[in-house]
């Protein structure tokens, strides 16, 4: 049994859950909530806020943590990499694969921070899981939105570098 390959498999699985839900939030839920709020004749966004968003956020934030942990373990345990070397971006080692995976690791770490420190605490206010005034909710909504959009932006180079570490950059 190769634990490292199982770890990498779990890294891919949890990463797809995380980024899949990130894209759902950005490409589907946020525009749909805006449209539902603007549609005065329609059912409104309340059901999405009450039933869908909390469940999606549950899978989203825990998948993010599992993705980071399995990725960190892989960098630690895989012979081709090292955790410290990756986060030092392989500087001075002339190892393009290590620098590439290190850049991906930094992007993923920033994204994990955004999930747990910016998105989740602010979404709790937006969704009414914790008490907040209307003003606090408006501010929390903007912060969570920008953090979520930032993660969508960062996921684009992240995915390039995660694949490129083993398979090469496009130029």
């Amino acid at each position: 049994m190769d634990i490292l390959i199982l770890d990498r498999w779990l890294h891919f699985l949890s990463g797809i859950v995380w980024i899949g839900l990130l894209y759902y939030f950005n490409f589907v839920q946020a525009p749909a909530m805006t449209a539902a709020a603007a549609d005065k004749e329609g059912p409104g966004p309340a059901a999405i806020s009450k039933y869908i968003a909390p469940l999606a956020l549950l899978w989203f934030r825990w998948a993010a943590l599992v993705t980071w942990l399995t990725g960190a373990y892989y960098l630690h345990a895989a012979g081709a990499y090292s955790l410290g070397g990756a986060f030092a971006l392989g500087i001075g080692q002339n190892n393009v694969a290590l620098t590439t995976i290190g850049m991906g690791a930094w992007l993923g770490t920033i994204m994990l921070f955004n999930v747990w420190v910016l998105i989740w605490p602010n979404q709790k206010k937006v969704l009414g899981i914790v008490a907040a005034s209307d003003e606090e909710k408006a501010k929390a909504k903007r912060i969570a939105f920008l953090a979520s959009r930032t993660n969508t932006l960062l996921s684009i180079p992240l995915l390039l570098f995660m694949g490129a570490a083993a398979h090469g950059l496009p130029f």
């Binding site: 971006l89 500087i91 959009r149 930032t150 932006l153 684009i156």
Partner: protein, 31 residues
């Protein structure tokens, strides 16, 4: 205007950032 306010702006910014960081990687790694 913040590119993050639109999906198109976010994707374009992400692609541009990917190319910039890829060049940075090549510079760091001396490749």
């Amino acid at each position: 205007m913040n590119p993050l306010d639109s999906i198109t702006g976010t994707i374009i910014a992400g692609v541009v950032l990917a190319f910039i960081l890829a060049y940075v990687i090549k510079l760091i790694a001396g490749a």
